[in-house]
Symmetry: C4
Subunit: 215 residues, 4 copies
């Protein structure tokens, strides 16, 4: 099966999920119409919802970037199993609008915060299952990539669930700090060459590790 | 008419239907805000809805796989009639989010269970009408495929409605067992070489049957 | 500007509109849960909504076919004005889910029936403005098509608004008959060679008319 | 990273946002069913909502045209940062359906009018950040375009936020006049050669300015 229609389907799902987020932003409609100041206050009261919307928009974008990288660089063709595993991944991503709405409504509620983190982790697990299956399958995987590139892509993809796990642990101490941890991978990816800097700072030789692990 | 824009339109519809499923997952919003434990319980109470969401996500994915296979392998071009028949198929698939919501709300209600099965069967019928029309039309069908491949694709496509029919019958005895039957074709397709195993187990020679029936 | 991204955008809009139709099919949720029979009756009561859904799904499909034909056969490139005129057309099509919901709720109300017809006519007008602009513009239009083909496409595209107008007129006598007239163009397009039959039946020579009008 | 899947994702988001606008057009459903005249009046009462829908549909189209132009003409490839900046832009556009609904509900409320203008300005800022980043980056930008074309595209893209700013200022005097200013860039773009006319009318030599500024 060629991979382009699967990419198209996945792009569609990602695009819709991003925009579904906005559906839950309801215009304040009270029985009596609000005047200028009242409407202003009603909009200010929506700030938690807007923040949840924005955080989730960016989180889904990072998931899309990861999906895009794996499909474009490391996948040659797909088979029926890869399509089903991809569906599991998309199903996990599809829960993000619900989870976004949950933290938008229950911003300071630990259950909501943990739920949101679990959703990110679920996406991370499903993504890893899919990509390990594809890149470990000689028929499906693309042959001409450097081992280091694959390792880097895997590290980037694992940042989201790892920081989500950290966020969940932190929620037992300072719940709102969790949000910063959930958002961190986006900031990390915005800094150019962030992964190389990390490599140097900790004296890790990704190239060597990659060669050893993937050969 | 070339087939690519019809594929794109259909992909769009499939992608949207998958994600529409999530719209019906409403955040529990009670008059008084819930505390941690109450919100946890409210989320637990949503498990039937989540299950209906997940089942339907995977069911729509299988329908998409079937659509993809027929369009990619067996279709060369489409005409106005194929487009309309394809619209009938998509309309049937479009009812799945409604049906998913129905079994999410009325999980143990036999009417809901039968309705869900009927929806799968309707999709099966519409799909068969479309694919018999296309693969039976010398102008539209692709010429270079093996008869066995077509037969295999038809068998796989028929698994969903067949097990849905079984699920409906079973609902008169053990309603919840129906869900397992509705989900079965997905499991079957996840097992690599499952169709070949079946072929050997029952001593059927699909190749010979295909040659006889399609020549 | 090349036409392919405009096609993709339009396909997206058409696909979403088709599936938005289903959003208005709400699962009957009464305060007390319904038993098997009550749920069955509640579903039966939804038949007008299902019919409006199905009619509109097919009507939007016909609009898509018309859009597809003009873009694929008669358009070479697009410019900023064509994009804006295309947006007017899409905006008119975007009202269909609202109108579908209107006739689904007020099936026997003449205001709703006329509104639905007006929506189809609005789409027809916007479509004609766009296609006359494109096919009348030497920079935008494709050069290698037969005049007869263009005339045929225009006739097919005009069937929807013409029968909608007829449906509106008929609504003053027998409101429900209007629905049959709204659906007629779909049936007409399902019959193979229907336009040729009409040509012969009425002794019209489309080829000659086309040559005269478009030269 | 090649740019085509980013275009596809963005097209998906734009298409969905256009159609999401219609979701907020709710069919008047009163406890007692309305008769012909009552339904007619209920539809007339929806005119502010229809106007907000139509204005926003066209505003989003203009944003799409701007996005399309920059991607097609001035962008060669994209990187991870461009994808994230593009996500910021899409997130800003994603708020339009909410803002459209706001002015549809609170048509004469200055807070709503200013909010709508601010949304357009936010899109303008995000768009400018993205396009300045891409066109200022030698790896990402396309090389073969005329400086004048880039300047023209930038002017067109800045029309929306500039007139939105004007609309906000005007809202302190005549709130409803703001809407005309918000809609003006669309009218401007519908007039063929409008930018050239402006160039001549004010005796500006865009070509020279562009060469100076961009060399």
């Amino acid at each position: 099966m060629n991979k382009y229609r699967l990419e198209a389907l996945s792009d569609g799902v990602f695009a819709i999920l991003m925009t579904l987020l906005v559906i839950e932003l309801h215009v304040p409609e009270i029985f009596e119409k609000l005047n200028n100041l009242e409407l202003f206050n009603a909009l200010i009261a929506l700030i938690p919802k807007f923040s949840a919307f924005f955080l989730s928009f960016i989180v889904i974008t990072m998931m899309w970037v990861s999906h895009h990288t794996f499909m474009a660089k490391f996948t040659r063709v797909v088979n029926r199993r890869a399509v089903i595993l991809n569906a599991f991944l998309l199903a996990a991503v599809s829960l993000i609008p619900f989870s976004a709405n949950l933290i938008g409504t229950y911003t300071y509620n630990q259950t909501a915060i943990i739920w949101y983190g679990l959703n990110i982790i679920l996406v991370g697990i499903m993504g890893n299952i899919l990509w390990y299956y594809v890149t470990g399958n000689d028929e499906l995987r693309n042959k001409d990539f450097k081992p280091k590139e694959l390792l880097q892509a895997r590290i980037r993809t694992s940042l989201n669930p790892l920081f989500a796990l950290l966020g969940i642990l932190v929620s037992f101490a300072v719940p709102t700090l969790s949000y910063i941890l959930y958002a961190f991978p986006v900031v990390f990816n915005l800094i150019p060459g962030s992964l190389d800097m990390l490599e140097k700072a900790f004296g890790i030789d990704l190239e060597r590790i990659a060669e050893e692990r993937l050969k």
